[in-house]
């Protein structure tokens, strides 16, 4: 097998991956994504965790430290097995907030602060660059090992050359499929599927080598176990400190690594896939790890002393003459390396463009939103640029460091770096009190300690930190030695750095959160994150604003594309019941738009862009109160319910009363109509009878004719009076009466009333008792109407007073501005049960013929007195019948109006 064949196989494999990604992208574009987004593909894509460091390095690690290599896979196993605790919430929030990267997630939680986004991005770049370099190095090393075996000579210049071409090819692939479009969900089905294919290849390759080692080289599992025991060395013993620390570190890394976050959260198509991955991904890790120790043991046995154990997977089959197997192993390692680089660069490029480049560009180009270029092109190009920069950085790092460190070391160093995001991330998920100040200083402190105590020293003494600083501390301060901070010398450098960085990070994070005060947006976001499973539609950050929907449309078009944006705006306008493309800029709409934009450019940038057009986001007090606590929400809700049910009860009561009133009115109306008919019919009957008699008047004496004609005349007068009374009553009841206000002496009014009432039953002689002194009051009211009331009362007394020597006592009292006039006779009065009726229409206490009226008199009196701002009442228990008429001395317009409204309310 020649080197050319190796290169051709490699190229063929790459072309195959391109085709797979291309075909999947085409399928996805046609909407056939169902099978692509299965839980199987999801689980396989998670295998980017297993990089070349796993593929080659795990065997090397096992050869050096025994079972300790397994901690790197046991930690993630625990995290996935416990998916219900953390990962499920992470994925849910990622979906709810349309998170584009881990930096986006953390910055979105902490008030969409771009400072946090920048911090996390820098941390991720610093941690990931050596890791990318490591992948390039592993490809170069394996290529060199292969060619060395084939040609028997080293190819150090060609190996760098090969690494360069790999880097270029990776950049091409990533740009082609990772920045194809600006997807609203930041998902890349082509890339994910290619990663899944690579996952299968690397697993198969490792298992193939393992099966070969166990069943061909050795004589089955039993033999391998004895060989393991034979090969075991004292340094393979499990060291409790490292064992716990590494399980923990690997568990943290699987949550915090940007590339893991990318495939696990951002590329997740369905939450339920996580349930499958919770056991399937640990199974993948199990399968990957199963043959690591056997390969290491057999490699140690068979390979010449001094050969690099990191390459046993490749060199063992080569040495044993299994070229095909070696080729498979090479492709497996190639897959492991490339998949990691692709996903990591996509994740990092998204962060760099969303948190560094675009905000910077927006800052530099402050100006009217409408006059900007195509943002989509800008964002995509910034990502392409970022991909090239990151890969270039990785390549330069590889060339400069030249593969000095063992593969495993740099991987663990990167793990400790990304672990610095843990406090902020867990705080984001579970602690509403966490705020951006705490997150920023925690991240900053952890980052600095990691740099000082682990990352910079890892280059070896004299590169960044001099040997003197390493040995004696900066400026000779002993307790600041990078590997022995605060005098802690019992831990090895990795655990030492992990311990101090995470401890101080957490302390800073917690104290910052306890002492600082969050912004309103932070508090809203905090509630949304922590209560992700309870709050469906969260509180909104935007208040109703005067922002022009047109500006928003033109801005959004630059990010989402014209047709997509117009569809979005149109659907929202339609939902608001408006035609056209411009919905009202309601908080709901702004919130939806922000999330849509966040899917493309990240939460912080999207927030900033909308803020430029809309102005500052204001969280209303109601919003805050609504999210302040669920208890408050529930209480508010139940209070609302209670208030509502009270209101309903009140309404029902009012309706019931209104119904009773209507029923009573209807009964009254019926009674009134029958009364009226009756009252009209009686005179009509006599008029008809007498007119019939007059019609055949021949032979009737003239005096009889005159007598009958008089009766007819009297009856017509009675009829007219009845109709007049009815008319009068209706006018008074409707309050349409025109009051004729004038001044008069009360004494004169009473005198006039007595004179006028004398015509009623003039045969009866009434004695009047009056007090002239108290009557001498000047009143200002509708004197005609008032006299009418007096006349009515006096006439009634003349009609009904049953005393043999009737006496009428009229007494006047003045109570402030009110005047009370009592008319008391010495009759037997009105029986109690009738008292309530006397002011009703057609209420007549005795026989109609005796009264001679229609029974409307007192009803009219009552209406008049109401119109005069006073009242008329029957005063019981005074011996005779006593009517008390009270009214204001001076009638004001307002009084009449007030009394009218009082009356209408009473009815």
């Amino acid at each position: 097998m020649s080197v050319n064949l190796l290169v051709i196989a490699c190229l063929g494999y790459v072309v195959f991956l391109f085709l797979v990604a291309f075909a999947v992208e085409r399928q996805a574009a046609r909407g056939h994504v169902r099978w692509l987004r299965s839980s199987l593909v999801y689980t396989l894509s998670l295998s980017v965790y297993c990089t070349a460091w796993t593929f080659y390095g795990a065997v090397g690690y096992a050869a050096r430290s025994g079972l300790e290599f397994a901690t790197i896979y046991l930690g993630p196993t625990l995290v996935f097995v416990g998916w219900w605790l953390i990962l499920r919430k992470l994925v849910r929030i990622g979906k709810q907030q349309r998170v584009t990267s881990i930096a986006d997630m953390i910055s979105a939680r902490y008030g969409k602060s771009n400072l946090i986004g920048v911090l996390v991005t820098l941390l991720c770049i610093v941690a990931a660059t050596p890791y990318i370099a490591l992948q390039l190095q592993s490809i170069a090393l394996s290529f060199a090992a292969f060619t060395m075996e084939l040609n028997g000579q080293g190819l150090s210049d060609r190996q760098d050359f090969f690494a360069l071409w790999v880097a270029v090819g990776l950049a091409l692939f990533t740009i082609l499929f990772g920045t194809r479009n600006l997807d609203a969900n930041e998902q890349h089905p082509g890339v994910v599927t290619a990663i899944a294919v690579e996952a299968v290849v690397k697993l198969l390759a490792l298992i193939a080598v393992g099966v070969f080692v166990v069943w061909v080289v050795a004589e089955g599992p039993r033999d391998i176990l004895t060989r393991i025991d034979a090969a075991a060395r004292p340094e393979w013993a499990i060291q409790p400190g490292r064992w716990i620390g590494l399980v923990f570190l690997a568990g943290v890394a699987i949550i915090c690594l940007p590339r893991m976050f990318q495939v696990m959260v951002v590329e997740n198509a369905d939450e339920r896939h996580l349930a499958t991955a919770s056991w399937a991904f640990p199974l993948y890790l199990f399968a990957i790890s199963l043959f690591v120790l056997p390969i290491a043991v057999v490699g140690l046995e068979l390979m010449p002393a001094g050969s690099n154990p990191d390459l046993f997977v490749l060199t063992l089959p080569l040495t044993l003459g299994q070229d095909g197997l070696a080729m498979l192993a090479f492709l497996g390692g190639f897959s492991a390396a490339t998949s990691m680089v692709i996903v990591a660069t996509i994740a990092l490029a998204t962060m760099v463009s969303n948190h560094l480049m675009v905000p910077l560009w927006l800052h530099l180009k402050q100006g009217p939103a409408g006059q900007r270029g195509d943002m989509r092109g800008l964002v995509l190009n910034s990502r392409r640029l970022a991909i090239c920069l990151l890969l270039g950085l990785g390549y330069v790092y590889y060339v400069v460091t030249g593969g000095s460190a063992a593969l495993a070391a740099i991987g663990l160093i990167a793990f400790v770096g990304v672990a610095q995001m843990l406090p902020a991330l867990l705080g984001a998920l579970f602690w509403r009190g966490a705020n951006r100040i705490g997150a920023a200083i925690g991240l900053g402190a952890g980052f600095l300690i990691w740099l000082y105590a682990l990352f910079l020293p890892s280059f070896g003494p004299g590169v960044f930190l001099s040997a003197q600083v390493m040995a004696e501390g900066p400026f000779g301060i002993g307790w600041l030695r990078p590997y022995a901070l605060f005098g802690v010398t019992t831990l090895d450098p990795l655990l030492h750095a992990l311990f101090w960085s995470l401890a101080l990070n957490t302390i800073a994070f917690v104290s910052g959160s306890l002492l600082g005060f969050p912004t309103p947006i932070e508090r809203v976001q905090g509630a949304q994150f922590v209560n992700a499973f309870d709050i469906q539609a969260g509180a909104r950050g935007w208040s109703q604003s005067a922002a022009e929907a047109e500006d928003l449309l033109s801005m959004a078009q630059r990010i989402l594309g014209t047709s997509e944006t117009q569809r979005f705006f149109q659907s929202h306008a339609a939902a608001q019941g408006k035609a056209g493309f411009l919905p009202d800029t309601t908080p709901q709409f702004l919130d939806a738009l922000e999330r849509k934009l966040a899917g493309s450019v990240g939460a912080a940038t999207a927030h900033a862009m909308i803020e430029q057009i809309v102005g500052r986001a204001i969280v209303s007090v109601e919003d805050l109160m609504a999210v302040a606590s669920e208890t408050a929400q529930i209480m508010e809700y139940s209070n609302q319910l209670e208030a509502k049910s009270d209101e309903l009860e009140r309404t029902a009561r009012q309706l019931r009363e209104a119904n009773d009133m209507l029923t009573k009115l209807s009964v009254q109306k019926d009674a009134f109509l029958s009364q009226i008919s009756h009252e009209l019919r009686t005179p009509m009957t006599s008029i008809r009878a007498f007119s019939e008699i007059l019609m055949d008047a021949e032979g009737m004496p003239p005096e009889d004719q005159v007598k009958y004609a008089r009766i007819i005349h009297d009856e017509t007068i009675r009829l007219t009076r009845l109709l007049d009374d009815l008319l009068d009553l209706s006018v008074l009841e409707n309050g349409q009466v025109n009051l004729d206000i004038e001044q008069a002496n009360l004494s004169d009014l009473i005198e006039r009333a007595i004179l006028a009432s004398n015509s009623v039953q003039p045969q009866r002689e009434f004695r009047f008792r009056r007090d002239a002194a108290s009557e001498g009051i000047t009143v200002e009211t509708d004197t005609g109407r008032l006299a009418q009331v007096f006349i009515n009362v006096l006439s009634n007394a003349r009609k009904y007073c049953d005393a043999a020597a009737p006496v009428m006592e009229i007494s006047v009292r003045r109570e402030g501005e009110m005047i009370e006039v009592d008319f008391a006779d010495n009759g037997s009065g009105i029986p109690f049960e009738k008292q309530a009726l006397i002011f009703e229409k057609f209420a007549r206490l005795t026989d109609q013929m005796q009264a001679g009226g229609a029974g409307l008199g007192l009803a009219i009196c009552r209406e008049i007195m109401i119109n005069l701002g006073g009242s008329i009442a029957y005063v019981p228990g005074q011996g005779g019948a006593v009517f008390r008429v009270s009214f204001p001395r001076v009638l004001k317009r307002a009084d009449t109006e007030g009394s009218q409204s009082e009356r209408s309310a009473a009815e």
């Binding site: 097995v81 399980v247 499973f533």
Partner: protein, 91 residues
Amino acid sequence: MSAPQEPLFVARETFRRRRLMDAARLLPVLGLFLILLPMLWPAPEGEAPRAAREGVYLFLVWIGLIMLAAVLARRLSAVLNGEAGSDGGEM
């Protein structure tokens, strides 16, 4: 007659589902305990540890955890399907 028994049935169902969630939360704790156990096994002073025995134990624990997780995930995805939205951490 079956109507009054129905709430009891529902409560029982809910109860089982919540204990299932508890199990899912506690499984990593059990796993951690089992994984940390080999640290406590005495290693002969200055000699090589019995790596084969430890390895077999570790991989058995590993596959056991995976199988338990598979059972739980199967039941829990029914919960996810049923009520994709609600559950939370309440008891």
